[in-house]
């Protein structure tokens, strides 16, 4: 009854009375029944606070555009900016960032450069962030976008990648000079966890099939364990079809017939390869947003995590991926109306080929694209500030 009342009042109360209706509604529509429950993120006075990590390369300029767009559209989100200096050897910066995310529960970030000529004790900052916050699931939704020319059409794949262990455990040692071992760790707990996440998500989104990608014919124990965990979880979801495919065959199938895939589930490294292949298939790194979910935190970024050093500060980067990532973030904060409004404006702009940026074959600049999105939002009617 309460839920019905709130629903009726929503359009009237809407945005003008702040978010009291939404809070009220949220309290009533308790998330207990939802399979992918996470504790509510930071909220004070009706406004959310989100940690913002600009990163390097194109990160800062794209995130500025996000802020500009949010300010323009009166999105009730404030950003706590935390800078991480990628060239410093101390881990203070990244620890501050992690603390900020713990405080706020949600973050939007650019990629932090890793100088791979530094010694091994200088770990990848992005990886540190993911493992410290236990953001175990990386989710990427690859969809063919209208208006973008690609070799393959009608792609709609959700890729779920284990985000904390596997080949990215950063456990290496030089046994004797010239002989290096790198450990790939697979645990039953994390494999069950990610498989569970994948099947729950598949069910939530009404997807038919989950494909596990592995190399268990060669890595019999490690990938064998992963595959076995996936099979165990699959047996609890009889409504969803489960199959598996070896990673090299998967990449071959992806470049010839990507339409056959629905939801794909895999350990860390194969996830890296497959997500980059899929991003390339739908048009490139500038188009696909990514999300990293943990039990308590969520961090949003571009799916392929590129720094884009060569195109930084030249106003040619494609803002689509970062803007869509910010929409994913708005969805996570339950600000669905704002998310849909911005997403709609982005897709409408995408249809205008003269506004395509260089990476998808056009000559538009980043600011032109963002201006167009803001114009569409303004013409859509709701309250906005001046352009």
């Amino acid at each position: 009854m309460m839920a019905a009342l709130t629903k009726a009042l929503k359009p009237i109360l809407g945005r003008h009375l702040g978010n009291t209706a939404k809070v009220f509604g949220a309290a009533v529509n308790s998330q207990r029944g939802k399979p992918t429950y996470t504790p509510p993120p930071a909220k004070y006075g009706g406004r959310h606070t989100v940690a913002l990590i600009p990163g390097d390369g194109i990160g800062p300029e794209l995130l500025n555009h996000v802020r500009e767009l949010f300010r323009f559209s009166c999105v009730p989100v404030d950003f706590e900016v935390v800078h991480v200096n990628s060239s410093s050897t101390s881990e203070d910066d990244i620890n501050n960032a992690i603390m900020a995310i713990r405080r706020n529960g949600v973050a939007l970030k650019g990629n932090i450069e890793t100088n791979h000529t530094m010694p091994p004790n200088h770990k990848s900052r992005n990886n540190l962030l993911r493992t410290s916050l236990d953001l175990f699931a990386n989710m990427m939704h690859c969809q063919s976008l209208p208006g973008v020319q690609t070799r393959h059409k009608n792609i709609d794949i959700i890729i779920i990648r284990e985000n904390t262990e596997g080949e990215y455990s950063s456990l290496e040692h030089e046994s004797v000079p010239g002989v290096v071992e790198s450990l790939k760790i697979i645990t039953r707990n994390n494999s069950l966890r990610i498989a569970d996440y994948a099947f729950k998500l598949a069910r939530e989104k009404g997807r038919r099939r989950v494909t596990a990608v592995h190399k268990a014919n060669i890595m019999k124990l490690a990938d064998g364990l992963f595959l076995q965990c996936c099979k165990e979880v699959a047996s609890g979801y009889p409504d969803i079809e489960f199959d598996s495919m070896i990673v090299d065959n998967t990449t071959m199938q992806l470049v010839s017939k990507p339409q056959q895939f629905d939801v794909m589930l895999m350990p860390n490294l194969y996830g890296n390869v497959v997500s980059n292949v899929c991003a390339g298939l739908v048009g490139g790194p500038g188009l696909v947003p990514g999300a990293n979910y943990g039990r308590d935190y969520a961090v949003f970024e571009t799916a392929t995590r590129n720094t884009g050093k060569s195109i930084a500060n030249r106003n040619i980067a494609n803002p689509t991926a970062m803007l869509l990532a910010s929409c994913l973030m708005l969805d996570h904060l339950k600000l669905h109306d704002y998310a849909n409004m911005i997403r709609g404006a982005i897709l409408t702009t995408m249809n205008e080929t003269r506004l395509h940026t260089a990476d998808i074959g056009g000559q538009g600049t980043t600011s032109e694209v963002v201006q167009s999105i803001m114009r569409i939002i303004q013409s859509g009617g709701p309250l906005t500030t001046e352009i």
């Binding site: 010694p119 290496e172 071992e181 190399k215 060669i218 490690a222 090299d248 490294l269």
Partner: protein
């Protein structure tokens, strides 16, 4: 008229469609008057003294003598108690480099039309070292092994290959941002070897960037060199770009001058013996073998005949989109080769 010395090559027909495609290749070579004499050998695993599995001694002797081999697909029986035959061959002859040139085939349409690259994969260590442990219940560790020696060897082969085949650049594919020590060592060795080959351009690229760019614009890549796992994935990715394993050649280079060229598709037991198989992969591998042996004239002749047949689309096997028999496809290539003389 140039008289070529007849060289003997060990031929391993393999299982399933292996024998029929090997026969096809032999016929085409005969029609092209290639100076090759075939010595057929079998490689079923046998248990040697000391209980270790090994390939039959006749096969080993033949390979050691001839140094060059051509191999069809071998089946890996499940639960046979012995490791895969391909693994045994690799260990026996220390086949450290797997080379796959991927060139778009005119006449066999794929969404990618301008592919011309070579993947060179380190084939002995890396992620496929086979060293795995169950540490405690529910925790498994798999060891990726990178050694200075193997990395240097594969880098040197890659640059030599680039130089000998007029390729302009070599790109090392790695993930040293995450696997700092292991891929870092691999990269360092590549950089060191690059110093001795200033005529070949050397670049480094992250694995994910390569994948991303490969599916958007494969024409930007030339020779790629990488450790085992990345090589496995990328070489199959590139094979997918040109049309799959049924048309992709492959060569394995070993120590002491041994080289085994093979088709990398499966044994296709469902069409074995029915004259339906496509011999293109084995044929192109044999052409790669001719080039390796310096017989460029014959290689070009056979390769052109093969591509012409595919381009004409008159006698294609089922997997290429036609409905001709293997023997008809082979006969067409033989006819073209003979017409070229």
């Amino acid at each position: 008229m140039l008289k070529f010395l007849i060289q003997t090559v060990t031929l391993i027909p393999g299982d399933g469609i292996g024998p029929e495609i090997s026969t096809a290749v032999m016929k085409i070579f005969e029609a092209a008057k290639a100076p090759i004499q075939w010595e057929e050998r079998n490689v079923t695993a046998i248990k040697g003294p000391g209980g270790r599995w090994m390939i039959p001694p006749e096969a080993k002797e033949s390979m050691d003598k001839n140094k060059i081999g051509l191999k069809g697909p071998l089946k890996t029986p499940i639960a046979a108690g012995h490791p895969s035959m391909n693994l045994l061959l690799r260990k026996t002859f220390d086949l450290y480099a797997n080379v796959r040139p991927c060139v778009s085939i005119e006449g066999y349409k794929t969404p990618y039309t301008d592919v011309d690259l070579v993947t060179i994969r380190e084939n002995t260590e890396g992620e496929y070292s086979g060293i795995e442990h169950l540490i405690v219940d529910g925790v498994v560790q798999s060891i990726k092994l990178i050694t200075e020696e193997a990395s240097r060897r594969i880098a040197e082969y890659a640059f030599e290959y680039a130089r000998n085949n007029q390729r302009t650049s070599v790109t090392a594919v790695h993930k040293a941002n995450i696997m700092r020590m292991s891929d870092g060592l691999f990269l360092r060795k590549c950089r060191e070897v690059a110093e001795n080959y200033k005529d070949v351009k050397f670049t480094e690229m992250y694995l994910d960037t390569v994948c991303l760019n490969m599916v958007q614009d494969p024409s930007q890549f030339d020779v790629l060199v990488m450790p085992n796992l990345y090589g496995d994935i990328l070489s199959d990715l590139c094979a997918g770009l040109i049309g799959g394993l049924g048309v992709t050649p492959s060569g394995n280079i070993g120590a002491h001058g041994v080289a085994i060229f093979e088709s990398v598709h499966g044994t296709a037991p469902d069409i074995a013996g029915k004259d339906l198989a496509n011999p293109t992969a084995l044929l192109l591998s044999a052409v790669m073998m001719l080039r390796h042996m310096g017989l460029h004239g014959h290689a070009k002749k056979i390769e052109t005949a093969c591509f012409d047949t595919i381009r004409e689309k008159k006698v294609l096997t089922k997997d290429l989109g036609g409905n001709s028999k293997c023997s008809e496809f082979t006969a067409d290539i033989c006819r073209r080769v003979q017409d070229m003389d």
